[in-house]
Every structure is written in C-alpha cells, then in structure tokens.
C-alpha cells in the first residue's frame, strides 16, 4: 500500500538538517521504547514486518506530527492491543482505579 511512510522521491520536504552532537536518545523513554520493542520481538509477540506495518498504518497527519520514537510506541501499543495482550484502555492506563 502506498502509505505515508513511503516518501521516497516525494517533493516538498525541506533541507536535511543535522543536529550537532546528537545523543543516541533525547530522553530516557526513547531508550525504553527501543528496549521494549526488542523484548517483544524476541518473545515473538509480533515480527518486524508487523511492527513496520503498524507504523505505516498510522493516520498520515499523526505520522508526520509524531517523533520517531513516538511512532514506535504507537505501533507497539497498537500491536499489543491487536494481539490481545492488553486492551486499549489498559494500555492507556484507564483502569486500575481510573
């Protein structure tokens, strides 16, 4: 499917900008998302193509407005819900005393 991730050759994006002295992660939670994804892949909860697919299924406007690791976290929670590991409400923290 031609989805929002499929940007190769598109016109209109700006100049490429480097971040000086860029750290591997800008916040601890980003490293946690990477580790979480690795753990769930390793456990076979989903595979890498399902993970990519879950990122690509994001609504285009949200995809473009999200940071890289926000997309990852969004895909992880999408898959956890679809695989029946937890409900969307549980993942959003809306249970357990509200």
């Amino acid at each position: 499917m031609s989805r929002i991730n499929d940007v190769g050759g598109m016109l209109g994006f700006p100049a490429v900008v480097e971040e000086p002295d860029e750290p591997a992660f800008h916040a601890d939670w980003e490293a946690h998302v990477v580790a979480l994804n690795a753990a769930l892949l390793r456990r076979g909860v989903y595979d890498l193509d399902e993970f990519r697919d879950a990122i690509e299924r994001m609504p285009p406007q949200e995809y473009l407005a999200s940071s890289y690791y926000e997309k990852w976290f969004r895909a992880i929670t999408t898959l956890l819900a679809e695989k029946g590991i937890a409900t969307p409400a549980e993942l959003a923290g809306e249970l357990a005393g509200g």
Partner: protein, 196 residues
C-alpha cells in the same frame, strides 16, 4: 521533534505499559534495563572506521569485504548478529568516478549492529524523500559538492540487507598508520553523505 515538545505524557505512558507487561509476565524484571545497557554497548561508528582503515591498508581484506562483508568483518571481531538474527551486510566502495549513498526510504533500516543507532537526519522524511531523487542537492545540504563527472548510486535498503559505504582513502595519507587512518573516518562518510 521530541526535543521541542513536552514529552512527559508519553514518558509516563511508556512506564505504564512496561509495568503492565512486567506484571503479566511478558517482560522479565530488569529486562528493559539490561537491553538498554546492551544497546548502548553495541555498535559504533568506530567499528566502521576500523573496517575502513583495514580495507585501505590491506587490499586482500578490501576484496574480501566487498565480496562477503559478514565474513570479512568477523576477521576484526565484528558481526551483524546484534539483533534478532544476523543481517546481511553489503559494503559498497567509492571510487574516483563513483560515489555511493545509503538510505531507507520506507523506514529507517541501518546497520545498527555494526554502527550503532542511526543519526536523526537519516531517519527524517526530508532525507528519505529527497536523496533518491536529488542526491546532489542533498549532498550540498551536507556541504559536499562532487564533480559533475562523478556517478552517484543511491542504495535504498528496501529488503533485508544493510549497507555501509567504504569511503575513498584521502590523498597524502601514506604516512599514517591504521589507527590514525581510522580516526579520519566519520559516520557520514560510512553513509555516503560526506567524503573522508
């Protein structure tokens, strides 16, 4: 960009999901911290620099690297096996008349096991969209102006291989030893958005 907006809510949600998964047995206690430490201790651009320097001083190694990179980097103690399974590494060598650039237009495939996390610009829509279409303009964003006679080949990591560029050895470096040569090699040089 995460650095420019308040990410406390997402940080809290990540902690919550982690706790939930740990409670339900999908994560072992301490597993996340162990993985973070392992990731930090994994790949590094220094590995690519060492491989490049060896290829510059040892034509036999260079030939083996271009023919079968996974086996060749093993000679220096490196591997592409840091992830779920070993990934195929393809090394493409710059020459006087050809320059290579690596991208993943569909997502952000990168030889993390060998080189560590990719830079943010590599993952940006700007880089991914533009470099396949107008590589000379993107190289100018990086301050690189190649002669019009240099052929450019862009490698889009669209399947299972990961790519590393073997930069050209700079002129007037005959007196440098392998360690000093490795010191000249940058991460951008290994992606193809810089010349060394």
């Amino acid at each position: 960009m995460s650095a420019t907006h308040d990410d406390a809510p997402v940080a809290a949600r990540v902690r919550h999901v982690e706790a939930l998964l740990e409670q339900r047995g999908w994560l072992a206690p301490g597993e996340i911290d162990e993985r973070i430490d392992a990731f930090a201790a994994g790949g590094s651009p220094a590995h690519g620099a060492a491989i490049t320097a060896r290829a510059w001083v040892d034509p036999g190694f260079r030939a083996r690297l271009l023919a079968d990179a996974n086996t060749a980097i093993g000679e220096l103690g490196y591997s592409m096996a840091g992830g779920l399974q070993e990934q195929q590494l393809t090394v493409v060598a710059n020459s006087e008349d050809e320059h290579h650039v690596v991208v993943c237009t569909l997502c952000s495939c990168y030889p993390i096991a060998l080189l560590g996390p990719s830079p943010g610009w590599y993952r940006s829509e700007a880089y991914r969209s533009r470099v396949v279409r107008e590589p000379r303009a993107v190289l100018r964003d990086f301050g690189v102006e190649l002669p019009a006679t240099t052929r450019i080949t862009v490698w889009d990591a669209s399947a299972e291989s990961r790519y590393m560029v073997l930069p050209r050895r700079p002129d007037a470096t005959e007196g440098l030893d392998e360690t000093a040569l490795a010191g000249l090699v940058t991460r951008k040089g290994l992606i193809g958005t810089a010349v060394v």
